[in-house]
Symmetry: C2
DNA sequence: CAATATACCGACCGAACGGTATGAATAGGC
DNA sequence: GCCTATTCATACCGTTCGGTCGGTATATTG
């Protein structure tokens, strides 16, 4: 079971490098337009290594979605938006955080799972489901805070915490699409402002104290 | 300038048939995964005909986006949601209409422009811009009604009619992504309900009288 | 009725595609 | 110190890709 050579200590992490290359390249070009050779070049591995670690290009797609789910889970778990005492503040801080990480390059800030799911939803159920799990698992991390904020205010009825959590992801995914179509990340931030406003209106929180 | 032959009267519409095939196939499989041969097969034309009408696959992509823009413009212009006297009612009727045309198959109800833009935003500026024009031109058709509804209620300040019109498209595009990822069109309808609720909260319209 | 332009047809091209077969290097278990 | 499993490397395969090209049929123009 040999991987790290004395002369080549970075040996053995070909799989990880391929997953990282997949994350970056697929976000930039899409899944179908990304060739196996593209990924091997970006990860500086050979085709033999690729098909040693992944049985097919589709299998790489599934693994990339799972890797995406794991790394983003860790990233958001460690983010500062969990700090506020009030649950609604945490939800609003989440939206503000999502807004703050939008940079100039869509390949940097957009979502691998959303991009791939949109592309392969009909042609590759395995990849689509892996992307769906990533997306809805992330959405679910908001549910507890939303639920608590609803209880605090005695809200209930037309909509559920789960539904609002999913809607948050809808707006975020849509924001990525619109930002790409308009070639302007500001369009994404603009919609996150509307999402923030929706939350405040739902929970009766004034807009004046919004963090800028 | 000959096209309709006596024996083959459907001759001459190869271009249109290719554009319709592009609309259907690209919505189902994406742009990169759709081959020129796929389109020729679906449109029952030869490769010679394809490259007679379109200089390249990219040119077909641009033409498909423009064709999409024209046909959807006509479709929405003729839709019944323009009937109400009150401008806010027209906006809410638009959202209800968008919800009503969501069927079981994403390839039927999703947006060609959004799908293509997400895929080619970095690799093909020409297609991306054609998709962007389609999207934002459609968004702009909502602006006048939103503006009028704002005037009616003396609303102004944090957000503009143009911004809210764009946000509407953000939610719709996001709804398509989430519906595909979750393999469930109901997820899209759910987010349109949240968008409806946001509009009512913004404009101080009660939710009880919502059409079902 | 010849000239011309349009609308196609279908065989073909080189490159790139996803995937495979074989084998070398390495390190841990015994 | 040998065996075995793992991690790659390299060369190659058949297919499909976007695109080209010479040719044909038809309708319009003068």
């Amino acid at each position: 079971m040999p991987r790290p050579t004395k002369n080549e200590p970075e040996r053995g992490d070909a799989r990880t490098r391929l997953l990282e290359a997949a994350r970056d390249t697929i976000r930039a070009k899409g899944f179908a337009a990304t060739s196996v050779d593209d990924l091997c070049r970006a990860a500086a591995v050979t085709k033999g290594a690729f098909f040693h670690h992944f049985g097919s290009k589709d299998a790489l797609g599934v693994a990339a979605a799972e890797h995406w789910s794991e790394t983003t889970s860790a990233f958001f778990a460690g983010a500062p938006y969990h700090a506020p005492d009030d649950p609604l503040d945490r939800v609003l801080a989440y939206i503000a955080f999502r807004k703050s990480i939008i940079t100039d390059d869509p390949a940097e800030f957009s979502c691998l799972a959303g991009t791939m799911a949109q592309e392969v939803h009909a042609s590759s159920p395995a990849i689509r489901d892996a992307c769906g799990r990533s997306l809805f698992r992330h959405a679910a991390t908001l549910e507890a805070d939303i639920e608590e904020a609803m209880r605090d205010r005695g809200l209930s009825g037309e909509w559920t915490a789960a539904s609002l959590a999913r809607h948050t992801q809808t707006v975020i995914q849509g924001a990525f699409v619109i930002a790409k179509a308009g070639n302007d990340p500001a369009l994404a931030r603009e919609s996150l402002d509307h999402l923030d406003r929706y939350m405040r209106l739902l929970f009766g929180r004034a807009a004046e104290d919004r963090a800028q």
